[in-house]
Symmetry: C2
Subunit: 471 residues, 2 copies
C-alpha cells in the first residue's frame, strides 16, 4: 500500500518539476515561436498529473496534497478539484483543508460545496467562511438544511458530531421479502451492515443485520427475527463514550436516538475510529503543549505561534524555579557543589512524575476510574516513590560521597531525592485526576504543572536542606 503511495507522490513531484523547467525555458524564449511554444507546452505536465491522480482513491489524493508545499499544493488542487474536489476535500486534514478553501475563488468554492452530499456538509462547516456556507445552505433541500443546522449545533466532541443521517430502516410488520425489495429500490450507504427497525413514530424497536436477513425465510416478519437494540447513543453523549463502547463491544455501527427513543441517525465504526485516532494524536501533541495537528507546510509564523503559549508558560515556571535558586545564592556561593547537584534532584522528580502522569492519563483514556481505585493508585504511587527514593536516592547519595568526599552532602542528596520523588508521585496522580473530575482534559496542561512543581520543589528541598544541615 505504502510503496504505491510513495511512488505516486514521487511521480507527481517529478511532473511538477518538469512543468517548472519547461515553463522557465519557454519564458526565456523570444521571437515569433514563443507563443506557439507556450500553447504547446501549456500545463502539459499538469494535465498528466490530473490523469495520474484522478484515478486514485480520494484519500490518496489527499495524502499527495498534504505532502506538497503550499504553492505546488494549490497547483495540483487546481487540476483536481473540478473532477474529484468534493470527495478529496472531505479526506483532507483540517489545517490543509482550511488553507485550500481559503485560496479558492468564492464562486468556485460555492460550486464545489454544492456537490458535497448533505450528509457530509457539516464535517466541512468549521473550515468554510460563514457567508459561503449560508449561500450553499440556501440551495439545499429542506431535509439537508435541517441536518446541517442541527449537526453544527452539536459540540465537537459529542456523539452528535459523529452521526450520519439517513439510517436504513425497516418496519416490524414487513416481511423479509418486502425488506429486500425495499433495499433494491433505494441507494444504500457504502458499508451497510444493519437495518434499524422503527415504528411509524420513528421509535427504535430493534436492529436487523444483513446476515440475519440473508439467512431468514423470505416470509418471516421483521419483528420475529430482529435483535433488540441494546445499545443506542444520544447525540449529546461524549464521543469518547462511543469510542469506548465500539472498542468494548466490537461494534460496526450503532443507532443514535433522542430522549424519546426516536431514531435520529447512526454512528459507524470508521468515523469512530478516525475520531479516536485523531484524539489520541492530539493528546500526544497536547501533552507536549501543542494545539493540535500542524500543516507540515504551514507558514513559519503560524507554526511558531502554535508553540508560544507553552514556551511562555515554560519560561514563567522556569523563572520561578530560578528565583527559588536565587534565594539560596549565599548557600551556593559557600558550597558550589550544590549548583552541580541540584539539577539531578529536579530532573529525577520531573521524569518519574511524568511516568506516573502518563499512566494516569492512559488509564483515564481507556476506562472510567472508580474513586476507590484512585485512592489506591495514589497510595501505590507514593509507595513506589518511597521505594525508588530509597534505592536510587541511596545510590546517588553514595556517588555524591565518592565524588565530593562529604557524607552529610550525600545524606542531603538522598533525602532530597526521596522527598522530591514523593512530591512528583502526588502531583502526577492528583493533577490529571483533578482536571478530569473538573471536566477538563487531563492531558492538557498537566505536564507544565508537573515540571513546575518538581523543579521548584526539587531546588527548594535540596537547597533548603543543604543550608540547614551543611552550613
Amino acid at each position: 500500500v505504502h510503496g504505491s503511495l510513495e511512488s505516486l507522490l514521487k511521480d507527481v513531484r517529478s511532473l511538477l518539476e518538469r512543468q517548472r523547467v519547461v515553463e522557465a525555458l519557454v519564458a526565456r524564449q523570444t521571437g515569433p515561436n514563443q507563443e506557439i511554444l507556450q500553447t504547446m507546452t501549456h500545463r502539459q505536465h499538469l494535465a498528466e498529473i490530473r490523469t495520474r491522480l484522478t484515478s486514485q482513491h480520494p484519500a490518496d489524493i489527499a495524502f499527495v496534497l498534504e505532502s506538497l508545499p503550499v504553492e505546488e499544493r494549490s497547483l495540483v488542487w487546481s487540476q483536481i478539484w473540478p473532477i474529484k474536489g468534493s470527495t478529496v476535500l472531505l479526506e483532507l486534514g483540517e489545517k490543509v483543508r482550511a488553507g485550500i478553501v481559503n485560496s479558492m475563488p468564492r464562486d468556485r468554492l460555492v460550486e464545489l460545496l454544492q456537490k458535497i452530499p448533505g450528509d457530509d456538509l457539516p464535517d466541512l462547516a468549521a473550515t468554510v467562511p460563514e457567508d459561503v456556507l449560508e449561500e450553499v445552505y440556501a440551495t439545499l433541500d429542506s431535509q439537508s438544511q435541517d441536518w446541517l443546522v442541527s449537526s453544527i449545533a452539536y459540540p465537537a466532541d459529542s456523539v452528535g458530531a459523529l452521526m450520519s443521517q439517513k439510517a436504513v430502516t425497516a418496519r416490524p410488520e414487513k416481511t423479509v421479502r418486502e425488506v429486500i425489495e425495499d433495499l433494491r429500490a433505494r441507494s444504500l450507504p457504502p458499508a451497510l451492515d444493519t437495518l434499524y427497525v422503527i415504528d411509524s413514530r420513528h421509535t427504535l424497536l430493534g436492529a436487523l443485520s444483513l446476515t440475519q436477513i440473508l439467512i431468514s425465510n423470505l416470509d418471516s416478519a421483521v419483528r420475529d427475527i430482529q435483535a433488540p437494540a441494546t445499545l443506542a447513543f444520544t447525540p449529546h453523549q461524549e464521543a469518547l463514550e462511543a469510542v469506548r463502547a465500539f472498542e468494548r463491544y466490537d461494534l460496526r455501527s450503532a443507532p443514535v436516538v433522542d430522549e424519546r427513543a426516536r431514531l435520529l441517525g447512526y454512528v459507524t465504526v470508521d468515523v469512530v475510529m478516525d475520531y479516536a485516532r485523531r484524539k489520541s494524536g492530539e493528546e500526544a501533541l497536547r501533552l507536549a503543549g501543542l494545539h493540535g495537528e500542524e500543516d507540515l507546510f504551514a507558514p513559519l509564523w503560524a507554526s511558531a505561534r502554535n508553540r508560544w503559549l507553552w514556551l511562555g508558560l515554560n519560561l514563567v515556571t522556569a523563572l520561578v524555579a530560578s528565583r527559588v535558586i536565587g534565594m539560596f545564592e549565599q548557600t551556593i556561593s559557600r558550597l558550589v557543589a550544590l549548583a552541580a547537584l541540584m539539577p539531578i534532584v529536579a530532573s529525577i522528580g520531573g521524569n518519574t512524575g511524568n511516568q506516573t502522569m502518563a499512566l494516569i492519563v492512559r488509564t483515564l483514556a481507556t476506562s472510567p476510574l472508580p474513586r476507590s481505585n484512585a485512592m489506591h493508585l495514589l497510595l501505590k504511587e507514593l509507595r513506589i516513590a518511597l521505594l525508588n527514593g530509597l534505592v536510587w536516592g541511596g545510590i546517588m547519595g553514595i556517588l555524591t560521597i565518592i565524588l565530593y568526599g562529604s557524607v552529610p552532602l550525600g545524606a542531603v542528596m538522598s533525602l532530597s531525592m526521596t522527598l522530591n520523588l514523593l512530591v512528583a508521585a502526588a502531583v502526577g496522580v492528583l493533577v490529571p485526576l483533578l482536571l478530569d473530575r473538573l471536566g477538563f482534559d487531563p492531558a492538557q496542561g498537566s505536564s507544565v504543572l508537573l515540571t513546575f512543581t518538581t523543579d521548584s520543589m526539587g531546588f527548594l528541598i535540596f537547597l533548603g536542606l543543604a543550608s540547614g544541615f551543611l552550613l
Copy 2:
C-alpha cells in the same frame, strides 16, 4: 453505558464486602451452631455476584475484574470462569490475564483453554505456560493445530498476528441463490460483511459484499457481480500498514493472501482498531519511559521495576549534565547568579525539543514521511527555533538585565537560549527520524536522548559563554 459499568462494579464491591463481613462474623462464632451457620452463609454473596455478572457482556466482566485488587479479583474469577471464562479471558488486558492464568490450577486451565475457539487461541498463547499450551494443542483438530502453529510464528506487530481464519468464501461460478443457501447452512462469524471469491486453488479473485448479494438477482453468477479485491494484505506486512489502510479507505474487513495470492484469512476492523488503540496507548507510555500497560493492582515491586530502566538512564544523563556544571565550578563561584539562570536555558531547550519530537513522532505514526519532506521539516524547525530564540531569548535577556543589572549577562542568556533552542530542534527532528529509518520505534528512547542533549548542551553553552565573556 458508563454509568451502568460503574454501578455494576459498585454492586460487586459491596457484595464482596458483605461476604467478607459475614465470614468474619461466622469465624468468631463458637458452639454447636457454628457449622450450621457456616453452611448457610457459605459463599452466599459470591453466588449473588455470579448471578449479577454472568448476564453481562464479557468485556464488562473483564472491566470489573481489572478494577478489583488481586485477591478479590481471583475470588470473583473463581465464580465466573466455569460459566464465562473462555470469553472473558479473551477480553482481559494482557497483564491481568497473565496473573489470572498463573493463579489457576493447571488442570482447570487446560479445561478452560479447551473451550476457547481455535481461531482465538493464538491471542492467548503469549500468556499461557508452554507446557499447558502443548497439552491443549494435542486435543485440537488438525486444522486448528495448523492455525495455532502458523499464527504464533507471525511477529507480534505483523498483519498475520491480527488475522482471523475461516473467511467465508464463494466460488465464482455459483449463483446468488446457491451462495445464500450455503450461508444458511453454516455458522457465520458475528459481523460478516464480505464474502471472498476464490477458485479451487484458493486464489483470491474478488470480494462480494452482503449488500451486493441482497440486491442482486438470485440467478446471477458470483463472477458477474463480484467486486475486484483491490486491497489485500500479506501476513508479514507491518500491522501499522493495515491500520493506516483501514483508516484511509474506511474498511470493515480485508483479505490476507500469501505470495501466490491464495487466501489465508482476513482482518476485521475491530481487531485493527484494538491494535491501533493499544499501540497509541503504549506509545504514550513509552514516551514517558514505561514498558507498556501496567495492571493497576500489580505488586509494588513489579510496578517499581517497570520504571527502573528509565530512572537509571535518567540518573546517568543527569549525572553527566551535573559533571558539565562541575567543570565550571570556578566560574559559578565567581558569579553565583549563573547557578540560578542555567536551569532556564536547559529547561526551555528540553520543552521545545519535546514539542518538535512529539510532532515528528505523530507525523510518522499517521503516514510515511518522504525524504524531501524530512529535510523541509528540519529546516523549518531550525527556523522556528531561531525565531523563538530571538523573541523569547530576547525577553529573557531583558529580564536578566533587570534582575541582575548586567548587560553582558543578559546577552549571554539570550545567545545561550537561542543556541540551545537550535540544538533542541535539530535533536527533536533527527533522533525520531533516525530511529524510524533504522527500523526502531521512534517513540522509544527519543525523549531520554533529547533531555540528555538539551540539558548537557544547555549547561555547556551557557556556562561556557559565561566563562568566556563575563570573567
